[in-house]
C-alpha cells in the first residue's frame, strides 16, 4: 500500500525523461485540502527529469527526497542512503501514457472524460488500488506540459499540484 505514494509521484514525472531523453526541471507547489483543517497545507519543492529518471525534492516546510532511476523508485533515508521501493516497474508504462497524453494507452487504464475546464481532462481510474485512494484525476496542460494536477479523494479531501518549468539548455 505504501507503494502507491511513490507510484503516484512517478506517474507524473518519470516518463518525459525516458521518452524525450532530455533534461527538464522546474518547481512545484502542492496544496493539500483536508476537511478538518482550517487552511490548505502547502509544501513546495523542485523536480528534475534526467536521462535516468526523476528527482522529486520537497524543500518546505520539511525536506524530503524521492527519485526514480531506471524504472525503480527510491527514497533517501535519514543517513542519505538510497532505499529501494519495490513494485513500481509496471507503472512506468502507465506514467508515460499520462504525461505523453497517450489516449490509447490511457484508455486501457482510465475512463477519460472531458473536463469543463479548457485544456483539461478528467481521468477516472479503473484499477482497484487507485480507486481506493482517488476518485478521479484532473490533468491540465499547456503546450503539452502538465501544469496542474488535481487528485480528488473519495473523502472530499484533494491535492492540487502546480508546476512551473525552467527552460533548459538541452532543449534549446
Amino acid at each position: 500500500m505504501r507503494m502507491s505514494i511513490f507510484l503516484l509521484c512517478s506517474m507524473f514525472f518519470i516518463t518525459p525523461a525516458l521518452a524525450k531523453n532530455v533534461i527538464e526541471h522546474g518547481s512545484f507547489s502542492q496544496e493539500k485540502h483536508f476537511k478538518g483543517f482550517s487552511k490548505p497545507f502547502i509544501s513546495k519543492g523542485i523536480f528534475e527529469l534526467n536521462e535516468e529518471g526523476l528527482t522529486w525534492q520537497v524543500q518546505s516546510p520539511v525536506k524530503s527526497t524521492l527519485f526514480i532511476k531506471q524504472g525503480q523508485v527510491y527514497t533517501l533515508d535519514s543517513q542519505g542512503n538510497e532505499q529501494l521501493q519495490k513494485g513500481a516497474e509496471p507503472y512506468v508504462s502507465l506514467l508515460r501514457a499520462i504525461l505523453k497524453h497517450d489516449r490509447a494507452a490511457l484508455a486501457e487504464q482510465f475512463t477519460i472524460n472531458k473536463s469543463v475546464e479548457p485544456n483539461c481532462e478528467i481521468l477516472l481510474p479503473n484499477q482497484a488500488l487507485l480507486k481506493h485512494v482517488f476518485s478521479q484525476f484532473e490533468l491540465c496542460f499547456d503546450a503539452n506540459k502538465v501544469t496542474t494536477v488535481r487528485l480528488q479523494e473519495p473523502n472530499e479531501n484533494f491535492t492540487l499540484l502546480r508546476f512551473s518549468y525552467t527552460e533548459n539548455e538541452q532543449q534549446k
Binding site: M1, R2, S43, L151
Partner: protein, 739 residues
C-alpha cells in the same frame, strides 16, 4: 440343502447381530491420526481444526514466464465461473481506517511513538507525512484523526501483515530472478469427497493444460491438498482394482484347481466373512469411536482366517466323518497361540492397537467356530484334485530332503544373518514424509510455493492463555523476545494490542502535549481522543474479522492463537516452549512421526510378547526341545524379514512391523500344523494353499507405488517365502529305527 441352510443362517445371524450392535452403539469413525496420539496437550485438539482447517481447502497456483498476467487473469475468471473465490482478500483501507479511527490515541505505531519524544522531531514527522504527494493511510484517516496516529498505526499494521508484494492487485514473488504471480483460491468443503476431488482436479488440470498451450512461454505450478488427495486416490483406486482383481482371479483359480469345485471358494469366503463380522460385532460393542486405521491394520485377519478354512477343507477330504483329531488339536492350538499374541495388544497404551487386538481376536474365534462347526456340513461336497495331490506328494518329498540338511541350513542362515546385521543393521524410520505417495512433480510444486511464500524457514507456534486479554499480553511479551533475536512474527497483538498496551499508549500521548499542540495549531481545533479501547471481541465482530478469525480461538476456559515465527532457530523456539507450558512449537509432521514411532515401539513389544507366548505354549505342548527349535525358526524368520526389508527399502517403517505381525501369526500356524501333522502331503497342501493365498492377497502389494502398502506387501512377501522354507525344518523326521 441342510448345509446351505445352516451356513446362510449363520451368516444372517452374524449380520443381524452387527446391525443391532451398530444401531445401539452408533459408533463414530475417526480418521484423525492425531486423535490417537498420547494426549500431552488436550487443548491442541480443540484449536487445531479451527486454525488450520481452511488450509486444507486452499489451492495455490504460481504463474511465471512471458504471459503470466494473462494466464493468471484467465484462471481467476475461470474459478469465478465455478464460484471458487480467491483467498486473502484484504479489507479496504477505508474500512480498516474507519474501524481503527474509533480508537484514536490508543493505537500507536513504534515510529510514531518515537517521534513524540521531541516536539521538533514530531513536527518534522507530521509535516513530512502531510507533504507526501499521496498517502492512502493519511487520506483515509486524517478526517477522523488529524494527529495521524491512526494513519501510522494502520500503515504499520498493513506493512506487517502483508507478506506479499502486490502488483495491480495480484500477489507477486521473485525467486531466483524469476517473477511469479501467486493465486490462492479456496475450494469448497465437499471437494474432499474422493470422487469430487478427482473431478475438480481433472477440470483444473485440463484448464491448466489449455492455458499452457495457449501461452507456451508461461509455466503454471499448482499445489494443495486437493491435488494430493486426487493423485493418491487415483493411484489407490488403480492399485485396488488391479491387485484386487488379480488376487481374486488367482485365488479363484487356485482353489478351484485344488478342489475342482466352487464350494471350496464359497466356504473360504464364508470363513473370512464370518471372521470380519465377528470381529466387527465385538469391536463396535466395546468402542464408541473406531479409528479408520484399525480397519486397515485389521486386514491381517483375512490372511489368518482363510488358513483355517483351507486346513479344515483339506482335512475333511481325507476323512469320512468330520475332522481328524489332529486337525482339531492343530486348529485349537493355532487359535490359542495367535489369540494370545494378538491379545497382548489389549494392554497397549495406544488405543488403535487395542482395537486391532480386539478385532482380530474376536474375528479369529469366529473363524475358528465357523470352520469347526460349519465346514463338516459340506464334507461330502469336497474333494481334492489328482493333480494337486500329485504336486503335493512331490513337494513333500522335496521338503523331506531339505529337512535332512536342516542343521547346516539353520547354522548357515544364522551366520549369514549375523554378518548381515553387522554390515547393515536395520533402521526403523517413522518419518511420515517417507510414507507420502504423491507424485514428485506435486511435491516439487509444494516446495516451490512454500519457498515463494517464505514459509520454508518459518515455524508455526501456538500460544494459550486464560482469556483474550492475557493472550494479547503474552503475545506482546513473546514478540519483544522474538525481536531481540532479530526474528519476525505477525501476531494477533499486532492488529489488536492488549488493553494494557493501549492504555500505556494513550498515557504516552497525553504526556507529550507539546507535540499534540502542533496538530491543534494546524487544525485550529483542540485534539480529541477516543474514550474506549479496542477489544479482541470487538475486533472479531468487525471489518478486521477476516484477517484474524482463523488466527484466534476463544472459549469459556481458554484463548489461543497461532502465528509463524521466522528468523529464530527452531531449537531456541523449543527452549521457549519448554519454559512456558502455554506455548507450543506446532509441527504436525513431527507430531505424526512421533505417533508412528509410538506405534512402532508398541508393535515391537507386541511381537516379542506374541513370540514368548507361542514358545511357552509350544514348550507346554511339544516339549522344551521342539519349542526351542520352533522359537528359533520364528526368530530367524522375523530377523531375515526385517534385515531384507531394511536392505531393500533403506529403512523400516511401522508397516514393515505390521507385516511382521501377520507373518508371525501365519508362522505360528504353520509350525503348529507341521508339528502335529508333519510333512504329510495333505498338510503341505493346506500350508501351501495358505501361503499362496496370503502371497496373492498381501504379497502382491509389494508392487504398489504407495510406500506404506509397498512396505507391508514386501514384508509379507519376504516373510512368507522365509517361513514357507523354514517352517518344515522344525519338524523332527522319524529316524530309520522309528521308520
Amino acid at each position: 440343502m441342510k448345509a446351505w441352510a445352516i451356513t446362510l443362517s449363520w451368516l444372517t445371524l452374524l449380520t443381524v447381530m452387527l446391525v443391532v450392535v451398530f444401531a445401539v452403539k452408533q459408533p463414530a469413525l475417526n480418521n484423525d491420526i492425531l486423535a490417537l496420539l498420547p494426549k500431552s496437550e488436550p487443548r491442541l485438539q480443540q484449536v487445531e481444526e479451527h486454525f488450520f482447517s481452511a488450509n486444507k481447502q486452499q489451492l495455490s497456483f504460481s504463474f511465471s514466464g512471458e504471459n503470466n498476467t494473462q494466464a493468471y487473469d484467465e484462471m481467476v475468471s475461470w474459478f469465478a465461473g465455478k464460484n471458487i473465490q480467491p483467498r486473502f482478500t484484504l479489507p479496504k483501507i477505508e474500512t480498516l481506517a474507519h474501524f481503527y479511527g474509533q480508537y484514536a490515541g490508543y493505537l500507536l505505531a513504534p515510529e510514531y511513538q518515537q517521534s513524540l519524544r521531541e516536539p521538533r522531531v514530531f513536527e518534522q514527522y507530521y509535516l513530512g507525512q502531510l507533504s507526501q504527494i499521496a498517502d492512502p493511510f493519511v487520506s483515509s484517516t486524517i478526517n477522523q484523526d488529524p494527529t495521524l496516529s491512526t494513519a501510522s498505526f494502520l500503515r504499520h499494521v498493513l506493512a506487517n501483515i502483508q507478506q506479499f508484494e502486490l502488483q495491480d492487485g495480484r500477489i507477486t514473488a521473485n525467486y531466483q530472478g524469476e517473477d511469479y504471480l501467486l493465486l490462492f483460491v479456496h475450494s469448497t468443503n465437499n471437494a474432499f469427497s474422493i470422487n469430487k476431488a478427482i473431478a475438480l482436479n481433472d477440470e483444473i488440470l485440463t484448464k491448466l493444460t489449455q492455458l499452457e498451450s495457449q501461452y507456451p512461454n508461461t509455466t503454471v505450478h499448482y499445489s494443495g491438498a486437493l491435488f494430493h488427495t486426487a493423485a493418491n486416490a487415483k493411484q489407490a483406486k488403480f492399485e485396488m482394482t488391479l491387485f484386487g482383481s488379480l488376487s481374486l482371479i488367482a485365488l479363484f483359480i487356485m482353489v478351484v484347481w485344488v478342489f475342482r469345485s466352487v464350494n471350496a471358494l464359497w466356504l473360504a469366503s464364508v470363513t473370512v466373512v464370518s471372521a470380519a463380522l465377528g470381529g466387527s460385532i465385538v469391536l463396535v460393542s466395546l468402542f464408541n469411536q473406531i479409528h479408520v486405521l484399525t480397519l486397515v491394520f485389521a486386514v491381517t485377519l483375512i490372511g489368518i482366517a482363510i488358513d483355517y478354512a483351507f486346513h479344515g477343507m483339506l482335512d475333511l477330504t481325507q476323512h469320512k466323518s468330520g475332522f481328524s483329531r489332529g486337525l482339531k488339536l492343530a486348529l485349537a492350538l493355532s487359535l490359542l497361540t495367535t489369540t494370545m499374541g494378538y491379545a497382548s495388544l489389549f494392554f497397549s497404551p495406544v488405543q488403535l492397537l487395542t482395537q486391532v487386538g480386539v478385532f482380530v481376536v474376536a474375528g479369529l474365534v469366529t473363524a475358528w467356530f465357523s470352520t469347526r462347526f460349519l465346514l463338516p456340513h459340506w464334507q461330502n461336497r469336497l474333494a481334492v484334485s489328482q493333480s494337486a495331490n500329485h504336486l503335493t506328494s512331490s513337494l513333500s518329498k522335496q521338503l523331506q530332503k531339505v529337512n535332512e540338511y536342516k542343521t547346516a541350513l539353520i547354522i548357515g542362515l544364522l551366520v549369514l544373518l549375523s554378518v548381515f546385521t553387522l554390515l547393515k543393521p536395520p533402521v526403523v524410520n517413522d518419518d511420515v514424509k517417507l510414507l507420502n505417495a504423491s507424485p514428485k512433480a506435486l511435491m516439487d510444486n509444494e516446495a516451490l510455493h512454500m519457498t515463494l511464500l517464505g514459509k520454508d524457514n518459518g515455524q508455526i507456534m501456538i500460544l494459550f492463555a486464560e482469556n483474550a486479554q492475557q493472550l494479547l499480553e503474552k503475545q506482546e511479551t513473546l514478540k519483544s523476545k522474538i525481536n531481540e533475536y532479530k526474528g519476525k512474527a505477525v501476531m494477533l497483538s499486532d492488529l489488536v494490542p492488549s488493553t494494557h498496551r493501549q492504555r500505556e499508549n494513550k498515557a504516552d500521548l497525553l504526556t507529550h502535549q507539546a507535540a499534540i499542540n502542533i496538530v491543534s495549531q494546524m487544525t485550529a481545533n483542540p485534539v480529541q481522543f477516543s474514550q474506549s479501547t479496542l477489544t479482541l471481541e470487538t475486533a472479531l465482530d468487525s471489518a478486521l474479522a477476516p484477517l484474524i478469525h482463523n488466527q484466534v480461538y476463544i472459549n469459556n476456559s481458554f484463548a489461543a492463537s497461532w502465528f509463524m515465527v521466522t528468523g529464530v532457530e527452531k531449537q531456541q523456539l523449543k527452549q521457549w516452549a519448554a519454559a512456558e507450558s502455554d506455548l507450543i512449537v506446532y509441527d504436525k509432521v513431527a507430531l505424526i512421526t512421533e505417533g508412528l514411532s509410538h506405534y512402532s515401539q508398541s508393535l515391537l513389544v507386541t511381537l516379542l510378547i506374541a513370540m514368548t507366548f507361542a514358545v511357552l505354549l509350544f514348550t507346554f505342548k511339544f516339549g522344551f526341545k521342539t519349542a526351542c527349535k520352533q522359537g528359533l525358526i520364528l526368530a530367524l524368520t522375523l530377523t531375515a524379514v526385517l534385515l531384507l526389508c531394511s536392505s531393500i527399502q533403506s529403512q523400516l517403517s511401522i508397516f514393515n512391523l505390521l507385516g511382521c505381525l501377520l507373518i508371525l501369526a501365519l508362522a505360528i500356524d504353520y509350525l503348529v500344523f507341521y508339528q502335529i501333522n508333519k510333512l504329510v502331503p495333505n498338510n503341505i497342501l493346506a500350508i501351501s494353499l495358505s501361503a499362496a493365498s496370503s502371497m496373492w492377497v498381501f504379497g502382491m502389494l509389494a508392487v504398489s507405488k504407495t510406500p506404506a502398502i509397498f512396505s507391508f506387501g514386501l514384508t509379507v512377501l519376504v516373510g512368507l517365502m522365509c517361513i514357507y522354507i523354514l517352517a518344515p525344518l522344525s519338524v523332527a523326521l522319524p529316524n530309520n529305527k522309528e521308520k
